[in-house]
Symmetry: C2
Subunit: 325 residues, 2 copies
């Protein structure tokens, strides 16, 4: 009943009276009132005006399997969904499910994470309702050494998904961040379980700051959210589903050559580091140069005074010389 | 009581009467008889002769924590032990324990495996009492691309351990088998969980055919056991412990340079492929050449008619042109 009443309200532009609802579904006025209360408890804002009836004013941004399936238009990515209200980290959950035999294309989402992970064991702030925390499981027949390129493929998908759903142009900070106005909106964490010449599985975790209104002091200077950038609330389910559709598209191009030759031009056109001074934190020797863009292996080409260095994400970190990016 | 009686029997060269045992420990003759029955059930062969008493004739080859600790002389490798009577695979168990926070140096052993694993998802025959099935957990601060070298480090340790405990000279078939008389005695399966530039953990699984007397038809031509090679029964615990000690030694040399430059000469001196024709099963193009030995990265150098190819274990498999090796 609750679901039917919700659908009715969603399809009505104007008020609809309790009497009308009760007659339409053949239930008592009390039953209608109870359903309205339940919807409000779930976060729906419903206007109730005497002699006019009810009107749906605001829908909550739910990250549920139902919401996701409403938007999901993919062949395989996310067609098997596991959604948590809370979990330690979606990467950890995806890895556990992979060890238990979960298949290529599984998408794990959670409304919040208790131990969200960034690169190299750093943590990632993951409060309920504020972000998209999701992990896609892949079991590709590629060499372990090529797995790092998939981070870049996902970066392209996230950037395109945000452009489509939110309507803003974001940039990629090589290799795994999405930034806008010089601040980080999204981080991507790829992990794999591999034998020497065989990938057991890969998980690609995506954390997007969606509706955060404020950030902890220690990251306030470098982090932002889609809400802070636009002032608009968006559906996390819609964005997550769109990113899956974009990933499928880019992934197919990646698989054709098993490298980034078909994607590097697009990647480079969105690369914020391009043409900028970067400091390469190579453990053997730090150096500074100008980032030229990636090559087909996803390495960042950095022009130094004495030549061009190929910077592999497996080797070093890159920092902008001026500010965060 | 059982344990005390066992110790007494182990320290007696000659027969000892039931009366003497019962008086020594202040227990009834029936209690002594019960303990003897229990020991027999565990695999101890105890001679019982009227008017003389009991004598320990043969000890079972137990793979228990107690037995292992008796032989283990390492600083860290295997100092934390988890021993199973049966498990799916010691690699899987080690990976599970690693995800739960187990530390560098954990050694997982099992008397048998229900889903023993070989490379690329192949299975590995793992019956109770017949082999050593063990997995060492490592959390090294090295690049993921260097992890494959650890298979070669373990191969050196297994070869040296067998030479020391069993007294026979085995060879290494690049990259991950130990062979003798042209048949496989041991396989090594290295797996890792990694981020792009960061190793979460590595597990190195070792399967050694110790006391097998017969092999299934499909592998009989290519597999052998230490017992079939020597006719002698050895203690699995002793061999496993010795391999850990050898691994510690070779691993320290590996860590010095984070490559095999300090180990390649020794590796090459035991390399059965050396100087032999090998067929390189490169997915791009198969070719034949003569194996020269490994370089400091653990790649097999193969001399072809038109030059020398560097064969990485991350790329291809190698087959002997004549027979298994």
């Amino acid at each position: 009943m609750k679901k039917k009443i919700l659908e009715l309200l969603q399809n009505c532009q104007d008020f609809i009276s309790g009497q009308e609802i009760s007659e339409k579904f053949g239930v008592s006025r009390t039953a209608v009132w109870k359903a309205i209360r339940q919807l409000e408890a779930e976060g729906y804002v419903i206007e109730a005006v005497r002699n006019k009836g009810y009107r749906l004013k605001e829908e909550p941004d739910l990250l549920t399997e139902e919401q996701l399936q409403k938007y999901l238009e993919t062949d395989w990515a996310g067609q098997h969904l596991v959604v948590f209200d809370e979990t330690d980290s979606t990467n950890n959950q995806a890895k556990r499910l992979a060890e238990e035999g979960a298949e290529h294309g599984l998408l794990v989402l959670s409304d919040c994470q208790t131990s969200g992970k960034g690169r190299r064991g750093r943590s990632w702030d993951s409060k309920a309702g504020e972000g998209i925390f999701m992990t896609l499981l892949l079991k590709p027949d590629i060499q372990p050494g090529n797995a790092s390129m998939l981070t870049l493929v996902m970066a392209l998908a996230v950037r395109a998904g945000i452009e489509d759903v939110v309507g803003i142009d974001t940039q990629i900070k090589w290799p795994n961040d999405i930034v806008c106005d010089g601040k980080k909106v999204c981080g991507i964490l790829t992990e794999m379980s591999a034998q020497i010449d065989y990938i057991n599985y890969i998980v690609i975790g995506v954390g997007i700051n969606v509706s955060n209104e404020i950030f902890p002091e220690e990251v306030a200077a470098t982090a932002t959210s889609l809400y802070l950038l636009t002032g608009v609330r968006i559906s996390r389910a819609k964005l997550a589903a769109k990113i899956m559709a974009e990933f499928e598209k880019y992934y197919a191009l990646y698989l054709k050559t098993q490298d980034l030759s078909g994607l590097m031009n697009e990647y480079n056109s969105h690369l914020i580091n391009r043409g900028r001074s970067v400091r390469v934190l190579d453990p053997r020797q730090e150096y500074t140069g100008v980032a030229q863009g990636i090559n087909q292996s996803g390495e960042l080409l950095v022009q130094t005074e004495d030549g061009t260095a190929h910077v592999s994400s497996g080797e070093v970190s890159v920092r902008g010389v001026y500010g965060y990016v």
